[in-house]
Structures are given as C-alpha cells and as structure tokens.
Amino acid sequence: MSWMIRGLLVSALLLVGCKHAAPSVTPEPTTPVAETCDAKQQEISKEADQRAAPWSIEQHLAKNFPEGSVSWLMKEGPYQTFVVQSGAKNFGRCDDSGCYLFAAPSSVIQEAVKKSMTGATHDPAVLGQALGLPAKNFEGPLRMMTLNLRESGSCVRLPVDADPGVWKCQTEQDTDCFKFGGYTSGGVPEVMVINAPVAQAVVTEIP
C-alpha cells in the first residue's frame, strides 16, 4: 500500500515536471514578468534592482527560473486553515496592496521533495538539508504548490526587507533569516510573487 502511495506521488511530481519541461508551442511573451507589477510594486522592484546592481530581477529570472514556474511548501495545518477554510483567492500574506508570497524555482523544490521521499512519507531532515532550512520546518504532512508565472500574470520582483513575512536577522550569526539579494540563507533562489492565484496553482500532497 505504501509503495502504491509513493508511486502515485512520484508520478504526480513527474507529471508536474514534464508539463514544464515539454516544448512549448506558445510563443514566449515579450513582456518581462516584472512588468506585470502595478506602479507601487514597480517602484519597489526598481529600488531593489538598484540595491542589487549589477544584479536585477530580470537576470535573476533568466538565470534561476528559466522554466518560468515557481513552487513553495506549506504545512498541512496552515494550508487547511488559511487557504482552504478561508477560501483564499491568492496565496500569501495579504494587505490592502496585495498578497505577498516567497517562492523558489519549481525544479529546486520538486527535486528536494523527490529526494526526501522514503517509503510513503518524506524525510524532513533530507528536505531541510536540500533547501538549507531546519528539518523542523518540514515535519508532518506538507503541501507543495506550483505556479506558472507567465500563465498567472503575477507580479514578480526581488524580495525586500519590508515585505510581509520577512524574518529579520538579529545577529550576524543568524542563518535562518532573510538576506537581501534573491537567495535564501540556505542559498536557494527566491522571488517575491504578488497575487499568486489559488485557482491557477497545482497543489500536491506530500505525506
């Protein structure tokens, strides 16, 4: 039975991966994803690019997100409470200006999840090591969300210190906190996605 569950999960992961790896017959849009941002987000993105110079969101997307899709993980409990039961329209932390979500390249998250599968469940230690985060963050059932940025039309920019949910470093020794530049403290590429629609995300159970 456990092998059947594992097989189904691996198949689902491969399906998601194949979807994004398949040659596209649709011409690539000429508008960069970052230009789908509203005036406020464009201003924040411009300031972030100036601070990161010579790096920029466009270079970051081209280098680290070539497949054009992002993924992130959420523990089952908060997913049920704050996404399903609340009937959320967008993922992330919302205020009057939008909903803010940290996300990583889908290939990085999917590969880490695949590597962590042992029997019917994932190994939090392996997943934590692969993503450079404490194993504690991955204990218990998880949900993995995947979103195609070009199809969703979501605004994407480099994350900044003022973004909702940023864990501010208290000391130089802190590693599990936000560092500006487009990478997590564990070295995983990340972006800030504004208004990621729940309806357009592929949600996978990670037992």
């Binding site: 089952e76 704050f82 959320a88 996300a103 504690k136 949910g165």
Partner: protein, 81 residues
C-alpha cells in the same frame, strides 16, 4: 483536544484564538518558501491591548512574530490537527 474559538482571522495569515481556559493565543504563519505556523499565548497586557485596539494591535503583534518567529522563546509549534 481542547476546544478553542476563533476570535479574529486575518488575510495577513494569522488568527487570534480563545482557549478553553479563556486565554488568548495568536497563531501566525511564519517562513518564506517553506511556511509553518507558530502560536504565542498573549500576556495579560497584550490581551488588554487586543481588547482595546482590536486588529490594529493583533496586526502589529503578528508582524513582530513573523519578523522573529522564536519571539524570545515564547512561541511554540501550532498543533497539526
């Protein structure tokens, strides 16, 4: 499992709960590319501030917890169920 009542839920990804013994607890989603939830039991002063200011206070408290999830050792993992 103890019964608890949701007093306030925010799109900022937190909620305030009243536990069976009457104490207020705030549950906050923390983390970036991997999100989980922690809880903090409100002190008497914080509970009074929440009663007085409502979501203006709980928004500030939730943001403080997101910015530093250990919250001085006061936070603990939210129950999975």
């Amino acid at each position: 499992m103890s019964r608890e009542q949701v007093v306030h839920q925010s799109p900022l990804l937190y909620r305030v709960l009243r536990e069976e013994d009457g104490a207020l607890v705030i549950e906050v989603v923390v983390g970036g590319i991997a999100m989980s939830a922690v809880r903090v039991r409100l002190t008497e002063a914080e509970a009074e501030a929440f009663t007085r200011e409502g979501s203006a206070f709980s928004d500030r408290l939730a943001k403080d917890i997101m910015a530093w999830p250990p919250f001085g050792g006061r936070s603990y993992d939210a129950p999975t169920g």
